[in-house]
């Protein structure tokens, strides 16, 4: 929509030095198929250079929030009907996805979505599409974070393991040199050791490249560990927010998201789920 050129990513980054947040979502309402109301006045803020976690149970609307930010809703007959999304002072609510990416936001989608029939290297080249100078240097940087990918660079992405695909999806997003990296459940379906590795890399990206991170997770424990700030969503809006450390100590969060009962004992997921059906946030 608004014609953005490649320079703007660099200039917004420079503008990021002022005190304003990287991203601010103000009271958005999202409706799919003109009738299905999914986000009901959701607001959240991602401060510059921080890691913000967005937690919530299945169907809370986390992925919808990611799609709203990146302008993907129209591809699913969805629409932001109220509120606005402001990225570094600019209202991006109805921008085209391509312009949003050029402005510096990258999303690693839930379920990885690598280009299955392209090789690992070609996936990375596609990730660098917005930067005509997406060169060997950027590719090498990705391989430095994910050495396994270098060994598989000429393999088709569809035949990688789930963990390798997740690494490729993150590496591909890094190729655009994002200023705000958003990850939708990057630990989904991965073995504990791999989850550790992925979370470690997200922390490194934040500290080494100064990338601002918005992290959607079901794995609340690990997410609260690395996040500065966290939001908890239920039913399309934020029900709890605060510094990650504080939320991790909150008894309700412990019970519902960390699987720890007030008594301190571990409860089975089944109990939690059962309980959750009776008691909803707010």
């Amino acid at each position: 929509m608004t014609g953005q050129d490649t320079d703007t990513a660099a200039s917004t980054r420079a503008a990021g030095d002022d005190a304003g947040p990287a991203l601010a979502i103000n009271n958005i309402q999202v409706i799919y198929d003109e009738v299905i109301l999914v986000l009901r006045g959701l607001s959240l803020t991602v401060p510059d250079r921080q890691i913000v976690a967005l937690l919530g149970s299945n169907g809370a609307g986390k992925s919808t929030t990611m799609k709203a930010i990146t302008g993907l809703l129209p591809t699913e007959h969805g629409e932001v009907t109220e509120g606005d999304i402001v990225y570094r002072g600019r209202d991006i609510t109805r921008w085209d996805t391509a312009d949003i990416v050029r402005a510096g936001i990258s999303l690693v989608m839930e379920g990885r979505h690598v280009f299955e029939h392209l090789t690992v290297h070609e996936n990375l080249m596609a990730g660098g599409f917005t930067r005509s100078g997406a060169d060997q240097e950027s590719v090498d940087r990705v391989y430095a974070y994910f050495p396994q990918l270098r060994e598989r660079q000429s393999q088709r992405a569809g035949y990688l393991s789930g963990g390798e695909q997740q690494m490729l999806a993150i590496g591909r997003a890094l190729m655009a040199d994002p200023d705000l990296l958003m990850l939708d459940e990057p630990s989904l379906g991965l073995a504990p050791l791999l989850v550790e590795e992925i979370f470690g890399i997200i922390e490194r990206l934040n500290s080494e490249l100064h990338t601002t991170v918005l992290l959607v997770e079901q794995n609340a424990r690990r997410a609260l560990d690395i996040a500065d700030h966290a939001y908890i969503m239920e039913n399309g809006k934020v029900v709890l927010a605060g510094p990650a450390g504080e939320l991790a100590e909150n008894p309700d969060v412990k019970e519902f998201y960390l699987g720890v009962a007030e008594s301190g004992g571990r409860r089975s997921y089944r109990d939690v789920k059962h309980h959750k059906r009776r008691k909803r946030w707010l």
């Binding site: 979505h113 917005t130 591909r172 190729m175």
Partner: protein
């Protein structure tokens, strides 16, 4: 032996042209998911455009082909913009009907502009023969194969090395993910139609050079389906191999059996191949992972 060599050369030449026509079809299907029934008519428009630029406008053939390529790009982009884009998200059958309608419109337009009289393209590919012992090989066939080979090679370099070529394959794989890399899917769709039209101009010109400029060129359209179904709807190497198979089969049948069977045999083989390989020889079987 002589007959065999000559049939082979002719078959490969026809196959090369078929491969070019099929390439356009595969491009559109792969990138946009549309089955373009108007691909044969693209060949026709391409051939008439070149003829018109050479004979009616009086351009040198190199300039004429260049002008026709520009026209093809414009036409391809316009068709995508005005005809196909409004159909995004509609029932695939409706989209197919639209491309069939497009085919009819293009044919009618060609008849209105250039009439129905078959034309001859002035020779710009050498029409002599190469002699190898007692085998004579028509030079225009050899050139047709060479030109098609160069164009097909250029396309495959484009798809594996260039930024937009890789983007186009990315769109074919996963549109949402492609959007998230900053790729404009709409622009890629337009580019697919433009490139399909470009390959059709080259294919149509080569064909016109072998058979003359007339409505029979669209009949090739039917063979294009045999080619892409043999090769796989979404495979570029498949288009090349499929083109060669169909071209050769036709010539061998015509030469050794005759009786018009060449119109039938490619389709019989098609059915046999589909029985064994439902996705065609090179078609992408969905990768079952994730």
């Amino acid at each position: 032996m002589t007959t065999f060599v000559q049939l082979t050369i002719t078959g490969l030449a026809n196959g090369a042209v078929l491969a070019l026509a099929a390439l356009g079809f595969v491009l559109i299907f792969k990138a946009t998911g549309v089955i373009n029934f108007a691909q044969g008519d693209f060949l026709l428009v391409g051939a008439f455009a070149v003829w018109s630029f050479v004979v009616q406008v009086g351009l040198h053939w190199t300039v004429a082909v260049a002008a026709a390529l520009v026209l093809a790009v414009v036409l391809g982009v316009l068709i995508e913009r005005l005809v196909l884009r409004p159909m995004i998200g509609e029932d695939p059958v409706a989209v197919i009907m639209v491309t069939i309608g497009l085919a009819a419109v293009l044919q009618a337009a060609v008849q209105m502009i250039w009439g129905v009289t078959p034309r001859r393209l002035p020779e710009f590919i050498p029409h002599g023969v190469f002699r190898l012992g007692d085998v004579t090989i028509p030079q225009d066939r050899v050139f047709a194969v060479l030109i098609a080979a160069v164009v097909l090679a250029a396309f495959s370099v484009f798809f594996t090395r260039s930024r937009h070529g890789i983007a186009m394959r990315a769109v074919a794989d996963d549109q949402q993910a492609a959007l998230l890399q900053g790729i404009s899917v709409r622009r890629i769709f337009a580019m697919a139609w433009a490139l399909a039209a470009v390959s059709a101009v080259i294919g149509g010109t080569l064909l016109a050079n072998l058979t003359g400029v007339s409505g029979t060129i669209t009949e090739i359209g039917l063979l294009v389906f045999a080619v892409v179904i043999v090769g796989g709807l979404d495979s570029i190497p498949g288009a090349i191999v499929g083109g060669a198979i169909v071209g050769l089969l036709q010539q061998y049948t015509a030469g050794y059996i005759g009786g018009g069977l060449q119109q039938v045999v490619p389709f019989v083989v098609l059915v046999l191949i589909l029985l064994v390989r439902p996705y065609g020889l090179f078609g992408e079987v969905r990768i079952e992972r994730v």
